[in-house]
Symmetry: C2
Subunit: 346 residues, 2 copies
């Protein structure tokens, strides 16, 4: 008999150790992948993913646009499969991200992209998966078997693998990542306080999660965890997009979680927070910026982390929030209704 | 004294006439823009937009990927402004879409893109706007002044302008669009039936809107209209992404609107609809596929339209749904709380 959420809780707690493993195995596979990418000098990067992995891909899109200074896009997978588009992909890097490596539409799109001249890289948690085999270069995020349907450890392992690979493409020094396992262990201590926050949301049917820059993928992933485990209508918006319409939905009955890290993304939130407070919405700040510590009920994360690494830490309290909210409502986040571990779509 | 929703209702009804005007003015500005784009032979296309215009940009992304067979991406505007990224944009077409042409972050991003070597095109409803002036080429969607805060007529005018321009880039024949004004007049007759549907949703706090292919932008735009006017937590998902997690939120208390057109996008919905029905969710189908006519309560749109033009017709009943739901709840969709016509973000 499984205790509800036991697997998800265990996998959340595994994350710092998995990062440590990836960092110790570094530079091996990341150097090799980066060298192959540099050798091809891509002009454009296309990201290919679905679900949680799509949020890791969105994180990679920020790294590519900001740190590699390359234009990038997220592929709409149906265009190369169902619509049979055959774009010229010379000089294009196609970077696929998938936990299982088993989604048929991603495998088919990657195969078309490779035939159309793209350099194809697959970042997966299974180096023997169809997606990894279909790609020219495979990167293994080495998160171990993930048993809870709601992905947690595979997500942050994807983030770190993408960072380590893309920093090497840039010729940068990924040393700041070495602090992550220790900081991750600190953040795991938020488990108890997030259970208390979850109790406040017991009767919420909807929620808004927002952030900017590198924290926008965090907002997207947090919303998906809340949808998958607690069946909340959790909506994620970049704070700029939020002001372009969805802010109208906010009132005192709407819980809002704002992810506010040190750095540019957090500073972009400064003018947004008063607008959110003015709606009367219930606001919970999560992050490392000073504004979080000053907020009533803010969840404070360790500072001093470059903002491009903050997403690994930021998501942990929000994973716990989803876990505890689901368990508190009598649901089992290890096996949400209507979902299975490998989703097959065409 | 303004009757609630009077402006939005009037602007919805203006749409077929605005399309007629654009088609009569064609080919003038579209030929000129297309010739300039062809002369530069772009290898990649970046779309730049926010809010409703972002959904027109997403529609253009499908046109570019499928019909022009070019890789494309949606720019994260903060990367070139707040994060100061300076990508090499030689061979890149940057296509900005904005009703007002006044959003500072879009203007700044376009200026950076132009300086970095991109060919810049701005599709706006105001040829004297800062965005139109910052671009090498301006395209005027000629929708006339839009007074309701919730954009309606400017959205479908953007769709048609993008179609007419991009079809000419392709060297195709945009003649199928000539049928749109007449078909649009037919679709306006759904006003009354959508008021009846709106009454059923009177107490809904959340909703899911889904579609695939060209109908995915329709789902996104419908959800935004419902958020802006009726303060619903309306979530849009491509039907494939819906199955990767958010499907867990569906049960008998969740209203789902599925946009199902003739063509590839509609066929991709065929395996999804039984999955949605199995959740017990309240399902309303909107579109031109035979499955819509067969569904209880399906809203049937005229058939025989190429699927890349269906988004102009599909959105109309959903605009009416948002209008009537807001008015029925005592809200004024012409002036939603917390919003103004030009949103300024950095």
């Amino acid at each position: 008999m499984n205790e509800a959420g036991r697997r998800m809780a265990a996998e959340i707690a595994e994350q710092p150790g998995i990062w440590q493993g990836l960092l110790q195995a570094d530079p091996g596979q990341f150097d090799a992948a980066a060298a192959a990418i540099r050798a091809r000098s891509p002009r454009f990067v296309l990201l290919l993913a679905r679900g949680t992995s799509d949020h890791a891909a969105l994180y990679a899109k920020y790294l590519v646009e900001i740190r590699l200074a390359l234009p990038a896009g997220l592929v709409s997978p149906s265009t190369m499969t169902a619509y049979a588009a055959r774009p010229d992909l010379q000089d294009v890097l196609v970077l696929a991200v998938s936990q299982s490596g088993g989604s048929t539409d991603l495998v088919d799109t990657l195969a078309v992209a490779r035939a159309q001249g793209a350099l194809t890289v697959a970042v997966t948690n299974d180096p023997s998966s169809p997606l990894a085999r279909a790609a020219e270069i495979g990167v293994d995020v080495s998160a171990g078997t993930e048993q809870a349907v709601a992905a947690t450890k595979s997500y942050t392992a994807q983030l770190l693998a993408l960072y380590l690979m893309l920093e090497r493409v840039r010729g940068g020094d990924p040393a700041p990542a070495l602090a992550l396992p220790r900081l991750g262990e600190q953040v795991l201590q938020l488990n108890v306080v997030m259970a208390e926050h979850a109790a406040r949301y017991r009767f919420a049917q909807r929620m808004v999660v927002t952030g900017r820059g590198y924290s926008y993928p965090t907002a997207r992933e947090a919303a998906l965890k809340l949808m998958e485990t607690s069946y909340l209508s959790a909506q994620a918006f970049s704070a700029a997009d939020l002001l372009h319409g969805p802010v109208a939905t906010l009132d005192a009955a709407m819980p809002v979680v704002a992810v506010v890290s040190d750095g540019v993304g957090g500073r972009l939130m400064d003018p947004v927070l008063p607008r959110l407070r003015a709606t009367g919405a219930d606001l919970l700040l999560v992050g490392s910026a000073p504004s979080v510590a000053a907020a009533p009920g803010g969840v404070v994360l360790p500072g001093g982390v470059p903002e491009e690494l903050a997403p690994l830490l930021e998501i942990i309290p929000l994973q716990y929030l989803a876990l505890h909210l689901a368990v508190g409502r009598g649901d089992d986040p290890d096996a949400p209704r209507g979902l299975s571990k490998v989703t097959r779509t065409v």
